[in-house]
Symmetry: C2
Subunit: 399 residues, 2 copies
């Protein structure tokens, strides 16, 4: 049985990881605001990452992809407030300079320092502020939560946690509350473990875990050009290298999936303006890809999202998404439940008390179950309600 | 040269068409509220229609599809407030009963009476109210605007118009302000002409015009199960039958496209909660299908829609959509203009005055031009801004 996530844990919970964060002036100043962070391992790690599929990706993405070809990394330097995306060659130069400064201060080879930036697209980094900020970064074993805070943009809370598996710890943090419809990865998430993990196995397991967690949440259907999930394993806790045939492989896989799912759900809860988490379970699909597709079509429907915001059991909007989707259905077998109440079956409305169901929907989490009657495949994903506050946040984000 | 649309025209502007509307009690009562309408031609028409691709479509859609196999129709009976969708066999029976009542009162064969319903999904029609309402429908040549009003749900204004071509008139009306992301058709639109038009030619031209107009607008990415566009040609104005090789073919085609585009833009202006029309021109695409796809991806982006709402020239969000899209691009040739101002080119921000551009965006229409540099194909489409009012309308629509 897999242990539970410790919500107080972070990327520095595993042995041999240290982090620090500071405010250097890129974001607007405010109480506790941090905008420059660093995460380092005492020793070189096997490392894997999953990046955005957005082709006009940010400058750091190209850099990090190249650095991870050898499956090794030791540190991450990150800024928030400006994404350093759509910034041409100057953006690439700036990202390389960030890595060089961090390498100089930590004594780690620049090739092992990954770079991330998150925030507004199309603005150049203010390099003088970054250089000045670098001086005050003093990584420590209890810096993980500060590091998680330094990733935040419109996030209202830091998202971090850790989990034990066997003799090891897996920790991590994530950011993101808007422009979130990850495609192979989410906005930014960093995962660490003190277990010794084979680089190829690490890559395969990260991809699988991301597909089941971050890739199944959608806040607004927009894919950021900065999406990044990094997993670093430093092996400081000792033992045999974990690969696909190791005894600890299953424990590692389960822990990784549980922690990624926890962080994905926390991101969704903290979605811009959101008041409710929506969990969508699709069953009876002909193919898993179809189940996944429908989950995302439901989680991105403006009308489903606004109905949940209004605690309105307007199930016709869910049925309309099923109907417009390309997934296979057996029409007479389709049924839909909201918060455990059957609302549609046999091509007709089911009898239910709208007031009682509306009251049930006024909670932190609304569960939508859709059965397609076309096979045995299933998928689960998460979204959030669409609120007037989301519009206010995004109408005013840039100027 | 094609004439302009007369905004005071309607589906009864062409000779030989009459319409009427009344309030029968399906919608909530209110000043000038109508919820039952009928449109009739003095003589049997050639007719074509384009329906929703939503597979869980409303009961009337199946009925109308069958009635139009012969390419002929003479009347339309419609209700608003309840969509008669996801209502099983009872829904089909109710739609057939509506057609039978209308046939009886107008003396038209039931097989030539089309039926439409628009409104909430998953509720049954109140047939006693409809039967009572039928008695007060007295079609007349000036009933076209009342008919357009009887289609409205969350619409705030009726949308109708007419246009002259040669010796003929083409008229029509449309409804729709939410759940609008038409797929082969839009919510509801009825078009009439007194020209004699060949049935097959009518069908081909309607499909083409719909693809260039209604299918290029998106209000919220959701496809209604009731989407219907019907075009009826009664030939009352005389002359040779218009087919693909007729002299009047080009005039007819142009008039149809102009009127459909006019109605599509009017629908977008009246979109739920919207304050600005967004016109999106994609040029330099490798294929027209790709240009069309990107127009719709931009018009459905929550973040582009909220930026326009805030008059925020946050062009990075447009570039992010281009990047996540699957359309072919030549990255160094991509450029983006907002309201005629170049904001992104050569992979870098273009220099522009944000305050001046933001002021320009505070107008009824915001034009976004995206050039992909990958070919010569282009497409134009329409969307609207996303507002807090949209959320309020849709959080409270059902209960």
């Amino acid at each position: 049985m897999t242990a539970e996530v410790d919500p107080s844990g972070s990327a520095t919970s595993p042995a041999g990881f240290k982090a620090a964060a500071t405010y250097c002036g890129i974001k607007e100043a405010g109480d506790g605001v941090l905008d420059l962070g660093v995460l380092v391992s005492d020793v070189r790690c096997t490392a894997a990452a999953v990046f955005t599929k957005n082709r006009l990706n940010s400058a750091p993405i190209d850099l990090d992809r190249a650095k991870l070809v050898d499956g090794r990394a030791q540190a991450i330097i990150l800024t928030s407030g400006i994404a350093n995306s759509s910034t041409g060659q100057r953006g690439v130069d700036d990202a390389e300079q960030m890595a060089a400064w961090a390498a100089e201060r930590t004594g780690i080879a620049s090739a092992d320092v990954l770079v991330s930036s998150t925030g507004v697209i199309g603005h150049f980094l203010e390099m003088d502020k970054l250089e000045a900020g670098m001086g005050s970064l003093k990584p420590s074993a209890d810096g993980g939560v500060a590091f998680a805070r330094s990733m935040m943009t419109t996030d209202t809370v830091p998202k971090h946690g850790s989990i034990r598996f066997g003799d090891y710890t897996l920790g991590g943090c994530a950011k993101g509350s808007g422009m979130i419809h990850p495609n192979m990865a989410t906005m930014l998430a960093y995962l660490t473990t003190d277990a010794p993990v084979d680089a190829a196995f690490l890559r395969d397991e990260l991809r699988l875990a991301v597909d089941l967690s971050f890739n199944m949440l959608s806040i607004d259907g927009d894919t950021s050009p900065s999406d990044t999930v990094v997993l670093m394993a430093n092996g400081v806790a000792g033992g045999e290298t974990i690969n696909a045939s190791a005894n600890a492989a299953d424990e590692f896989r389960a822990a990784l999936q549980v922690l990624c799912t926890y962080l994905a759900r926390e991101m969704t809860r903290d979605a811009e303006g959101a008041t409710r988490l929506i969990t969508i379970n699709v069953t009876g699909a002909a193919e898993e890809t179809e189940a996944r597709q429908l989950v995302r079509e439901i989680s991105t429907s403006y009308l489903v999202k606004t109905a949940v915001n209004g605690a309105d059991p307007n199930w016709g909007r869910i049925v309309a998404v099923v109907g417009r989707s390309a997934v296979a259905i057996v029409e007479e077998s389709v049924h839909v439940d909201i918060c455990g109440t059957r609302v549609f079956a046999n091509r007709e409305p089911a009898a239910f008390n709208e007031t009682v169901l509306s009251d049930a929907m006024r909670s932190d989490e609304v569960v939508i179950d859709v059965h397609l009657g076309a096979g045995d495949a299933a998928a689960t994903g998460w979204g959030c309600d669409l609120t007037a506050e989301y519009v206010h946040i995004n109408a005013d984000y840039h100027t």
